[in-house]
Amino acid sequence: MKGEYWDAEMELLSREEIGALQFKRLRETLERCGRSPFYREWFASAGFDPARVRSMRDLGALPCMDKNTLRGDDPRRFLTVGLDEVVRMHSSSGTTGQATVIFHTAADIEAWAQLVARCMYMTGVRRSDVFQNMMGYGLFTGGLGFHYAAERIGAMVIPAGSGNSKRQIQLMREFHTTVVHVIPSYALYLLEVFAESGLDPRSDTDLRIAFIGAEPHTEGLRRRVEEGYGVRAYNSYGLSEMCGPGVAFECPEQRGMHVWEDSFYLEVLDPDTLEPVGEGEEGELVFTSLNREAMPLLRYRTRDLAFVYPDECPCGRAHRRISRIKGRSDDMFIVKGVNIFPMQVEKVLLGVLGVGSNYQIVLDTVKSMDEMRVLVEVSGELWHGEVKELNELRRRITDELRQEILVTPKVELVEPGSLPAGEGKAVRVLDKREHVKGVEDG
């Protein structure tokens, strides 16, 4: 019988104990990296000698890695174990050639399940709960990460997957679901489906906890989920490169997400200089995994911008807390839980049109759901004066975008000169969605 904590030993470490454990695990991780062909070269080219690391600070001599580092090499060369030891792979969203592959040993899967179990248990999930996992299963880590953890706790798992709203509601009512894991904008959409069915989730379900993640959202949206369903909603943070969900999670205080520092070493860096920001200042989250076997990552740039709360959490856990994600240091954006880069849209347009064209991505909230529109300027060089050509052009752009970004956008053809010219995300992506508007912290 566990008390208030799933893993009291780890959750209740003091700052000093966390520091000591981190250094011990960093040494082990560096030693392990010596068995990976990639890391041997990485260390050599940086003139980095792992044996001479005397403190966490010494890690700063190593250059940061990012998605491009992972894409730049065969994922098998990152392995610190034989391929026989690998029991699973996951892949970040993106299409072939762009996806990043992460390998797991059996111990990695278990450690990950334990971390997510720690998160869920912290918010009150117990053996008696019924957990409906409304996240996509498959290559995406959001589904399986929570699934295994809930089973470790002993809750009953309904692996519902994403979509099919009527069925989701039916499952909730038939099996008395108490806990859900859901993309926040989908949670709002589902509220409308409840209303259309003449049901009120507050009285017509047994829901009490919702985990909302995989998509940045505001405090206001969280409150709407909490009020609409009559639940407590908790924010979740993770990335497949570190394991998946379970990197940081809100405790019942709901003020910042505790980063599990026994498993991850967090640096908050200025995205331009890659120097640490001042205490409590916003910067890019950079993680080093401390407890992963197959494919440890050192100083991995997440591109997510957040700050660390300087004060202690009343819950008693000394693991530092990060704020909601404030934005990105690159131009990635998320639609319906899928990561998308403007470059992917640009590539498709170039492929279809044969020449570069001015375009804009407009994100909106329609019936509580994300809507993505792609506006494309049709210059005189692109067509031969016929309407059917334009219709055909629009159809092809839509089809190829769907294949590339896995989301079906609404393509609109516009006159030349009607879109803002220039470079960068500010110009290319116009985000008018409710849930990302005015991201503030609570």
Binding site: G380, L382, G385, E386, V387, L390, E415, P416
Partner: protein
């Protein structure tokens, strides 16, 4: 070969006004205008007295314009005239992509403007079947 100016335009208030304003500024006369459209955008087709000048001016003003070759057929303004042209082209396997007509100032002759897929060939077919085509100069100086 007769030319018409096709312009891509979004279905938005003020676009047609801006387009005609550009032509007015250039002193270009519009002989005929049609709009074929989809839901959010369409193609404005203009028969003008100086297509090249209109095309250049519209491109310069940022319009997505295209100079399209067309055939202008003279028809007697009485029942069956249009049908005859369509049948001649149809029999020869020429597809009409778009067509519109307007009546000549004398009120007796109608002009049918057709966009077809096999252009030089279609002209020969029409001529060989006794139909009269307008030359560029005739068309522009109407």
């Amino acid at each position: 070969m007769a030319k018409q100016v096709n312009v891509f335009a979004q279905n938005q208030p003020g676009r047609l006004e801006r387009l005609t304003e550009v032509l007015l500024e250039e002193g270009i006369n519009i002989r005929a205008i049609t709009i074929s459209g989809a839901e959010e955008y369409g193609v404005v087709k203009l028969l003008v007295d100086d297509p090249r000048k209109a095309f250049d001016a519209l491109r310069r003003e940022g319009f997505s314009a295209y100079l399209k070759e067309v055939i202008a057929v003279i028809m007697d303004d009485r029942p069956g005239g249009l049908h005859r042209v369509c049948r001649v082209l149809g029999d020869s396997g020429v597809n009409i992509e778009d067509a519109y007509g307007f009546v000549f100032q004398d009120r007796k002759t109608a002009i049918l403007v057709v966009e077809v897929d096999r252009l030089p060939e279609a002209e020969d077919i029409l001529r060989s079947r006794g139909l009269e085509l307008l030359s560029d100069e005739e068309l522009y100086s109407l």
